[in-house]
Amino acid sequence: MARVSSSNPQLSSNRLFNKKLKPVKVKDIILDGSTDRAANYGGYDAIGLIFYNKIQIKNDGLNTNPDADETLESKGFDGVAKPLFPFLKYYPLINEVVLILSTTSKDYLDDRLSRIDYYFPPINLWNHPHHNTLPAVQNYSEDKSEIFKNEDYQQAGLLRRAVDGEVDINIPLGKYFREQLNIKPLLPYEGDYIVEGRFGNTIRLGATARSEAIPKEQKNNWSNGTKGEIGDPITIIRNGQAINLDNQGWVHTLENINTDPSSIYLTSNQKIDNFAIAAPDCWYSFGLNAIIPQNDNEEAKKFLDSPIDFMVAEEVTIEENTQSVETQSVETQLETITEEDAGLV
């Protein structure tokens, strides 16, 4: 059993969060190690480094803009941080919120107290894979009278739930990142392990999921077979979502092997019965009666072994009383004679 150093685990957790992990908002990120700006932070070693502003010390007075420094036009920022994990690089977008942790730096051998900030992946503010930015709308509206009219924006989840899909305010998420309102999260089933990219690319480590508890419109096409058991593993790698989906990006979707841009299915006991074959009619050579040409010598040997198999009776026409009687093909019968007939007796 794990030891708990504090008598109150909740208190310990809160203390860790308050003193160690700090939420900050990303102002900019270095993705090109060859620039002069990157050179100031270590060149290529600075790839992934973010410039952030703290979000918990802002003055939220109604007459000032507490997030005035978050735009790129503003020079100010509160600090920089590097990705925490060496094996996982999930680069945040501008105005996404990340947790930072201050801990040992590479200068540790020279200065035991040397510390720098590292950041975790973005906080799942909108519970959406495409992005989770939280911009202060007032910074991006030309009409400053709109400064504090951002309630719709925040409550609606970055306007993503506007059914008509229109976004009136152009808020940069990066220098070239293109917001796509129709990107949908992947619909999960019980026990699924899903990895989602920002652009509809996904990896599902799932299983056959067959239950009356699953609504009809949420049933998948890999759980239909009669042989499979619930829990039979399936891995689906999908590079982008289907292009014919609606713009309701908050509604989850499923993989579709036929309309997803490209995909790999690794099945264990499933049937992908909606899989559309590119050449469905080109199956001629299967399911036929084959005639295998026989070797002449083999034919001859068969004849010698059993000549009767090769005897075919011919049609015989018998004329009787000017009446022609045509017989059908008759089987040849072996003629038998007695010893007396043969003159042996």
Partner: protein
Amino acid sequence: MAELKGEIKNLLNITDELASIQDSGKNPILTPVYPNNYQGKQVLLNADRIIFNARKQRSEESKDAANTFEGGDIHMFSHNFISFSSNGSIHLNTLFPRVDQHTNTQNYIMLNSPNIFIGMDTVEGRPKNYPTQNAVLGLKTQETLNKILDIFKQLLDILSDDYSHIGDNGHPTTPKGEAFETIRKDWYDSKGEPEANSVGEIRKMIKDIISRHVFIKQ
């Protein structure tokens, strides 16, 4: 379960199997499950275009090594069928030698099977049955045609030298060898051009009738 012990056993005699199907008149059992009807362990790759590319080239050292290449291959193995189907065409290409090279002895396409079917017999314009026409062996054909030509030439020799006809007036005629002089000329040394409209011209045509690049087993 079959125990292989280091050798590949012929677990299924395809020829016998197909023959038994033919004899019994039953539907053949050797048909794979259609892709979207198959339920089991499989990998589906689906995209607008799929490329398999084995990029390693033969090194200069390996060109001198005997029979063994390391990498640069694509291999597919299966217990039952390997099937290629296309609404369009299927191409198999190998590299040809450069223009200044006059022989092509290195690259080839190999089809190795006890039975090889090319094309299918159609019913109402649709592929329906396996083909039943036999292929022709090139060398055997060449040998047979040369034999026919030899006999034909012997006949010409007899007609021109050794035989007399009975003419219209009842007297024997004198053989006219010069009448067969051109047609009797053979082409033994396989050099130069044979006489036009001669046995030799046909001999040369028989020599050229076989392909130098396509071979079939006996």
